[in-house]
Structures are given as C-alpha cells and as structure tokens.
Symmetry: none
Subunit: 211 residues, 4 copies
DNA sequence: CATGAATGAGTCTTCATTCAT
DNA sequence: AATGAATGAAGACTCATTCAT
C-alpha cells in the first residue's frame, strides 16, 4: 500500500520512517498522531511522508502490516515448534521470547495493542485476518491435545479456546510489562522470575484443560 | 465535575445528555467524538453542553464516572454474594446479569472498554482506582478459597489472580457479545446456550485452580 | 437610554449595577467585559441586565453618561470658581479634589480613560460633546487672561489651549496616580507633596503663558 | 517571537503581513481584530498566519515590536541631534518629520496609540521599556539645559519632565492629525502652517522652563 | 420582573493535505 | 524526489442575547 516512492527508498530510511510512525501512533493513538511528528522523528520532511503514502490512514495501515511482518519474522527465527507440545513450547523458548520483547518492545506493544482493538475499527480487515490465523492455529493445538488425550474432550473446542486465550493473553501482558523494565542486560534473577511466570501459566493451563 | 447548571437539570435530561455523550465516545473514541454530535443526540444546543461541562475532557471524565456509577447500581441490585462461593455466584445470578447487559449494552460496553484501556491515558486515576478495587476483591476471593482448601496453595496469589482475571475477562467478553445480539426477549434456547458458557467457565476456573 | 425597568429600580440597586459595569469595563475594556461578570458583581442575574438595557453597548454608553454625571456633580459641589483666576482655582481647591479622587477613583479613572479615547469609537458623540464643553470653558479662561493682560496675546488661542491642556492633563494624570495610592486617611505629608505638584504646575503654566 | 517560517519569508511578504496586522489592530483593537481579516488583507490564508505566529497575542506583540523598530529606523535616518539644543532640534528637522508621518501614518499612529496605553496590558513590558528609554533621554535634555543655564533650576527634574512631556505630546498629537490630512504632496501653505505649530510649541516650552 | 438555562453565530486554532520550488 | 510553505475544512469553545418559568 505504500507508493512506489517508498519502496525505492533504502532499507534504513524505510525502517526509520516506519518506526517513527509506529512510535507516534503507539504514543498518541491514530487521531492524535501528527504527521509532522512522524516526519520529524523519521528525519524527513512532512511532504515526503505524502510521497510515500496516500494519507494518514494508509500510513497507519502499513504500520500495522509492517509491525506484524517484522513480528512474524522474529518469531519464525525462534525454535519452531513443529510437533512440539504447546506447554513444551511455552517453556522451552521463553528466554528467546524475552529477548525479543526486550529488543523490540515497540513492535511487540504496538502489535498487541492493535490486536486488542485499541485502534478501533481502523483496520478491521487486517485485525480479523490476524485473529483468524491465530485462532486456527490455537484450535489445532487444542484438537491435537484432545487426540493425544492430554486435553479433556468433554468441552467444546471453542470453549477451550476461550480459556486458552484468556489465560495466555493475560500472562503475556504481565510478562511484557516485566520485560519492558529489563535493563539492556537483564539479570539472571529477573530472567528466572519471569520464567517462573511462564511456568505457573503452563501449570494452570494444563491443569485447567486436562482430563 | 459537571457545572452547577448540569446538576440542576431534571433527571431525564441529565440522563439523555450522558447517554448521548457515552454513545458518541463509545462509537468514535475521545478524539473523534464531536461535541456537536453529542449535543444533537441529546437534543440540546452545542452551547448547552458547555453550560454543563467545562470542556470535552470534563464531559468524558464524567461520562466514565456516570457509567460506572450506574453500572454499580445495577450490580448492587443483583443477588448480593455475601458469603457465597465465587463459582456459586457466577452460576446463580447469570440470568440477571444477562438481563442487565441486554438492557444496558451501552453502559456495559463503555465501562469495559474503559477499564481495558481503550481510552488511553485520559482518566488514568479513575482507571487505576477501579482496577484496584476489582483486584482487591478478587484477591480476597482467592485468599478465601485457599483457606477453605478449594484453591491450591502452592501458587502465589498474584499468579492465581492473573489466571482468574484472564479466564473471566475473556468469557465475559464472549458473553457480552452474545447477549448484545439477543432480541428484546431472548429465547430460552439463547439463555441456556449462554448459561452453558458460564458453566464451562466455572468448570475450567475451578479445575485450573483447585488443589 | 436605559429601559424603563432600570429607572424604576431603587437608587441603591441602580448604583450597584452602574458601578459593577464601570468596574468591568475599566478592568477589561469593552470587548472583554463580560455581561455575566457585571451581573455577578452587581448581585443580579445576567438576564436582569437585559431588562435594564438593550444590549452591551447601551450599557456601556450609559456607564459613560452616568460616570460623567456623577463626576460633574462632585465637581459642582466644590468651590465654584466664579470669577476666580484659573491659577487661583487650581491652588485653592486642590485638597477637595484630592479627596474626590480618593473617594471615587473608579469614576475618575473611567472618565479620564474615556476622554483619552481608550474605548475607541464606541461613544464618539458623547466624547466629542464632552471635549467641546471642556474646550469652550478653557478657551474662555484663556480669553479672559488675555483681556486681563495675564496671558500673552501674541499667540493664537488654539495654540495656548493646546499648551494649557497638555500641561494640565499630564499633571492631572500624575496627581491621579499619586492620590490613588493614598490610604483612607492621607498623611499631611502626602497632601503637601501632592499639593506641591499642583503648585509647580501652576508655576509652569503661568510662566509659559504670561507676557 | 515569530516562528522560523515567518523569518524565512521574503521581506515583501513579511512587510505585507505586518502592515495588515497593524492596520487591523489599529482599526479594531486587539479583541475585535480578526485573524481572518489580517490574513485577507495580507493576501494569505488564515492558516498561514499560524505558520508565522503562535497565536493572536504573539502576532500583536510582534506588531508592536515591528512598528517600533521601523519607527526608530526612520527617526535614525533623520538629522541626528548630536549636541543640538532641543528647541533647535524641534525646529530644524520638522519638515523631515512631517514627511515621515505623511509616509507612514499607520506606523506612527500605532506606535503612539500603543505608548498611550490604548492596548491595555497586552505588552506591558515593551511599553515600560519604551517609556523608560524616552524618559531617560528627556531627563538628560533637561539636565543639560540646567547646566547651560537655559532651564530654571528651582524645579525638580521630574516636574520639568512632566511639563515637557505634556506639552510635546499634546502638540505632537495635533501635528499628527494635521499631517495625516496632507495630500500626497502637501502645499507650502500647509507646511508653513504646521511648522508654525512647532514654533509656537517651542516658544511656550522655552518660556515655561527658562529661568 | 427576576432568573438562569438555552441558543448559535462567530472566532480562534489545528493539522491533514496540496503545491510550488 | 525532497522540502516546507500554503491552504482551508473542521471543530472546540465563548458569550451576547433570547426565552421559558
């Protein structure tokens, strides 16, 4: 959705612009975000933004897209779960995930706020798609668990999904908040403490859903 | 925080204004909400709004206060839980709660959106207080459960709180969405179906937290 | 120019309203003066002001008229100058005039500001009349002086008028400022000091204009 | 105090904007002056004014500064008085000063109105400074006159200052009014008549203050 | 008549978007 | 393509004036 002009920019500049945009949207919301502010933070002229995008909404939409793409890239780089058990997955990769949050708190927060609907109906389509993809994936996990017999099969998948999402989202928020406060090099203590959150979550998730 | 002029209005008008405001804020967010729109929906002149409130922000703040107060009044009117077990509480009063949501979807949605942080930092103080009150209450429930032996005591209260909140919030959202679609007179089928959501939630909550 | 309603008010209230108006106009100028403010200071309802006067401008115009009338009344009560020499006049009645300023600083200041054109073209007619009356009087003084031989007759009356006005206005401003700072009971020292201002003025006036 | 954007404008435009502003303020006073009006007279869009100045008050403040600066420039260009006697000064440069007024009646009137306090307390600081500078200069003249023996030394400098200011201000107002009515090319008669005003003033000043 | 709530025209001001260089 | 000045639509807010009680 950006214009041709934007795509021709060198990657550094592109990134600078997108990060400036995300920062502004994240800090002030869509309405209060100022094009001027984004331009300044990106180190370009206000007019240039309009060489790159049709209008503010386009810029926002692409900010979402860009953030999610980069978010995905980071996740893909992590231990892929293949056939791994969900619980296993949560526990095994936690430190890498902490690291990711620590390095990219902006992207992570923005993506979360977006999926949580903080930007209203601005990008419903993307939002819907995103949710659907996540849900489908989680439903698969649940179906797998049922097959393996690790998840109770007396409850509807939809119900279990709600439970699963409720618990994981809440804990993830907490973890996000904790990790944002990490110094550049988190202490072992901090890491352990945060990991214990993950463990507790897994314990509760497991116990809640098991037969 | 409203001006004297507002307090002197007859209750009908007050309510009309507040509902118009909440509707506008809920529909468009704070920034995009137009005073003109609120005035029109309330059936008063733009200038009148300014006789009632200092400015847009004041109006918003009072909208929040008003919504929460009315919300509380409605809840108070419901089966008080006294010494009742939480699970018991969820199950017993559910139909009354459905009715409340059905009658006041606007207030309920607005209050929820607000507590979920959709209005940013506009009323942080109220938000904080509100969260605190809720949390304290829930922590008490958890402590009670531990004493009675119905809740596992190997996990920190804070952790159990996250679990509890995550699960209940998610299910409540789902219930809210369902109930909003009820016709003026919900069918028995709809009610049963929604009740079953509550039951499932309780089942999962219980199993997740029990020893 | 006030409405019938105003004239029917008892004198106390009339005065209260007029003083409130003058105070507001004096403090904020015509444009920034608020009807609400005047009403409050007068202890009446905003609407009442409109029972008394057609609009803000009318109120202003009458404020001017009222102030000048009262001003005149006060002056008339003072040593009338009859055939007295101007210089004599300035010197003889000064203490009474100080007292008048001390008692009615608001009226005096307002009248002066008005004649000085601080309210722009709002009441040109009154202004013009007022100036004319003053001028005619002063011109008479000058003519008299010339006849008596105490004023040089090689200069045009108009020129001498400018001189006379320039000097007296400037000194009067100074005196006004001084007297405004008097406590309720001015010390003899203060009085003497201010009187000396008058004496100096007379000296300079005399010497400037004499043959 | 203008924004960077204003300073970067070419001089013609800057001047056009400032003159439009001064004209509007002069004609209607601060409160009634409309930004829209200024913009139109300057031939720019309303919004542009806000690219140049933070708000109306800033624009007013700078109008004052700008007017005074230009006023000073014009005066500086005139016969400098060096060691000249004040009376000498008044008499010698009068035609140049008439010319200045004729060419820039707006600036002159605005500057005068401002120093006379017609704009209330909007720019007290500038006003105070301005007055102080003028006074100091005039006091020096008086002190010099006393030393040379051309001014009586039995009166306080402050008193003589009042006299001097009163007389010159009044005459200058009269001269201003006269000159404003000059056609583009004033007739010799007009010039002579106005010069005679200056002469009379000097005569009276001299006689009033001399030993 | 007094009151004070209701009204809406009129302004300032903001800022996304356009445009000339 | 980049820049930043120009534009004007849109919206918050004020307050003189009207009006219902």
């Amino acid at each position: 959705m950006p214009k041709r002009t934007f795509n021709r920019l060198d990657d550094d500049k592109k990134e600078k612009v997108m990060r400036a945009a995300i920062e502004e949207f994240q800090a002030h919301g869509f309405e209060s975000a100022k094009i001027e502010g984004i331009a300044q933070n990106a180190g370009v002229a206000k007019g240039s933004i309009y060489q790159y995008f049709d209008d503010k909404k386009e810029l926002f939409l692409y900010s979402v897209t860009w953030a999610i793409e980069n978010f995905m890239k980071m996740i893909d780089r992590q231990t892929p779960m293949k056939d791994m058990d969900v619980y296993e997955y949560f526990l095994s990769g936690s430190r890498e995930r902490f690291e990711m949050i620590r390095k990219e708190p902006l992207l992570v927060s923005f993506a979360i706020d977006f999926t949580y609907g903080k930007y209203g109906s601005l990008a419903e389509e993307i939002n819907r798609e995103l949710k659907q993809v996540g849900e489908e994936y989680e439903l698969k996990l649940i179906a797998n668990g049922k097959k393996r017999g690790t998840i109770r099969d007396d409850l509807d998948d939809k119900i279990l999904l709600l439970f699963f999402q409720g618990v994981t989202e809440k804990f993830n928020m907490e973890i996000l908040a904790k990790v944002k406060n990490f110094e550049s090099e988190p202490t072992e203590e901090q890491l352990v403490e945060t990991e214990s959150l993950v463990k507790s979550m897994v314990t509760l998730l497991k116990q809640g859903m098991e037969r």
